[in-house]
């Protein structure tokens, strides 16, 4: 990409690269390359084991669509080959036409990509994943108290807060806590 001058470093702007925690991202050649002063890259690694949530490539708009499209393309090609009397099945030289079809039906759809990006809170930078119910349920008591704090830099919309108000359990909460909760609240209010 740098050889093609795809990301010109003008006005101090550096390209930003968002990666998963795969081992190859920490290999020396890669680290050396991104830290070259001439072609400096800013690389960030997302939460390991959480790629299903934050990684754009793992979205249904990209990888899953690609897999579906490639399966369909292989089916169609095999049917076509049968119809013209070829019985050699799908061969390596068929790979590029198949990939071309699948690529068009997955990664090139700009509008769908935009949706995948905004769903994961990357553009706009709206921390959208923090509204994910499963993730929200792992909040500690301290975090849930910070959530409503004015100085905190994350502002959740009120519409979600209303629903979660009385039922917020945290990863540190046990069933016993929940059972005694009404009593605690009553004693606090008293």
């Amino acid at each position: 990409m740098d050889a093609l001058d795809l990301f010109p470093r003008t006005d101090g702007v550096k390209p930003f690269l968002l990666l998963d925690g795969h081992g190859s991202r920490l290999h020396l050649p890669f680290l050396k390359y991104i830290n070259e002063p001439k072609d400096h890259w800013i690389g960030c690694i997302g939460v390991p084991y959480g790629t299903a949530l934050w990684q754009i490539g793992d979205s249904k708009e990209q990888n899953r669509s690609f897999n579906m499209a490639i399966t369909k393309a292989k089916d169609d090609l095999l049917s076509y080959k049968e119809s013209i009397g070829l019985t050699n099945g799908v061969v390596p030289t068929d790979l590029m036409p198949i990939i071309n079809i699948a690529w068009k039906k997955s990664f090139t759809r700009k509008f769908k990509n935009k949706n995948a990006i905004s769903d994961r809170g990357w553009n706009p930078l709206n921390h959208h994943l923090l509204l994910n119910k499963d993730l929200h349920a792992t909040m500690t008591t301290k975090e849930s108290s910070l959530e409503y704090c004015i100085d905190h830099n994350i502002f959740l919309p009120n519409k979600t807060n209303d629903n979660e108000e009385d039922t917020t359990l945290t990863s540190t909460t046990t069933v016993a806590d929940f059972i005694h909760r009404p009593q605690k609240e009553a004693s606090l209010s008293a």
Binding site: L4, D11, K14, F16, L19, D20, V47, Y49, G50, T51, L53, Q55, I56, G57, D58, Q62, F66, N67, I70, T71, K74, L78, K81, V90, T93, D94, L95, M96, P97, I98, I99, N100, W103, K110, F111, K112, N113, K114, I117, S118, D119, P124, L125, N126, L130, L131, K133, D134, A137, T138, T140, E143, N153, P157, L169, T170, S171, T173, V175, F178
Partner: protein, 453 residues
Amino acid sequence: MYEAYLQNSNRLPYGHVGGLLSEMKGSHKWLTRNIINKAFMKFRKDLKNVSKKEDEKESPIPEEMNLEKSTISSALTMSTVSFESDFRLGRPVGSTDEKKCRDRKKIIDAKNEIVKKIAAAKNTLKEGKRMKRGKLKQIIKSVSVKRGVSNKILPGAIRRRVEQNSLVNYHVGGGQVSQMQKIEPTIVEIILQMARIRQCLTPSTGLQLVNSLIKDTTTQKDLLEWKKRGNSNNMEGYLRRGYWRRFMARNKEKIVSKRGQKYELNRQNWTTYANFVHMYDHCINEMVEAVVAAKLHEPVWMDRYCKICDERNAYGCKVDHKLIRPDMCICGDEVGGSISMKGDGHVGGQLMLVGKGQVPMKKISTNDKKFTLIGLTAFTGEPVMCVLILEGKRPNPSVEAGIDIRITPNSSCSDADFIMKNCGNGKYLPGGPELFFEGRRFQLLSACTNQQV
């Protein structure tokens, strides 16, 4: 139609097209439901194209981070941005069950009200006197209209209930109400929250939880008294499997019991709210350092297309940083594949016709050539680059160029310019995907490896 669509959270309200159809059928006899649906889809598609063009016109680098200016521009385009890509007709998921539940409650309430009114009217009568002829039917009609009950309420059923002095019923067909009903919403909430924090309860632990919740409480006392009245054999004050079955049936819209899915411990440990907050904070800081994002003077609500809006239409949390160079931010992920069709799924689940008792057989190719594809996407949504890693010891030009047998070559194989004439996207030797990024054309980057891909 579009206004109704927006008001109903981007879905056409149920029966809206039918209403329009019956309204216009008199003047336009040729009109059908499909014509209306298609016209509406086309309208939305056109609208989407207009907004896309507007997006493209906008410069990726704002001259200055002027909040007021962007507010005005967002206000101007607000009317055209709030729609989703999926167009779905019909009622939202779960609304049918909700409606059934509401209707059932309406009937129960209406019957209770009628019974109470009739009982009160009977009490005011002098001994030996009868109610005025048609009074019962009149009350049934007025209450049904008031409560919006369309089902027929039989006068005989009301008379029987008044005779038996059964003024309040909790079910459509009569029957007792569970003493546990008042705490059941709490139990349901606990079960749902425990599932969210990935500590799902099993039916037996759920029953234990219920028993522990009511232990030494007034609910348990009520339960015991109720059991005494019913001459029950179980006087221990504990609930058993029978209760659990009925509890599940009562709350079937909210909770179900199903087999668990394996969830990695690592994922459990890493996928936490705190880690995601750190990830966002860290990445945004780095983006600011890379001068691709800038802090806003004041946090604002934004919709999913980066337009400033009010909180009601906002998507996600409040935005305090804005990407000023989304074209300089890229992300990529690899996807593996093979030309073998062995592990392919049933895309779309296409059905096949076959004789009864026979199994439809589908031919598959088992030739294998594995590959890994890395798609790099900019945060603008544009694909930047396609990297393909092929399995093999040395590069194979015939695989890299590919052969599209569905296309007839331009010239004979023996011609000197055969490759020049037939090379390129959409030709006999198509090569990899072509990309256009920042107005420039790029070809696939391919490499081969003898390692496992």
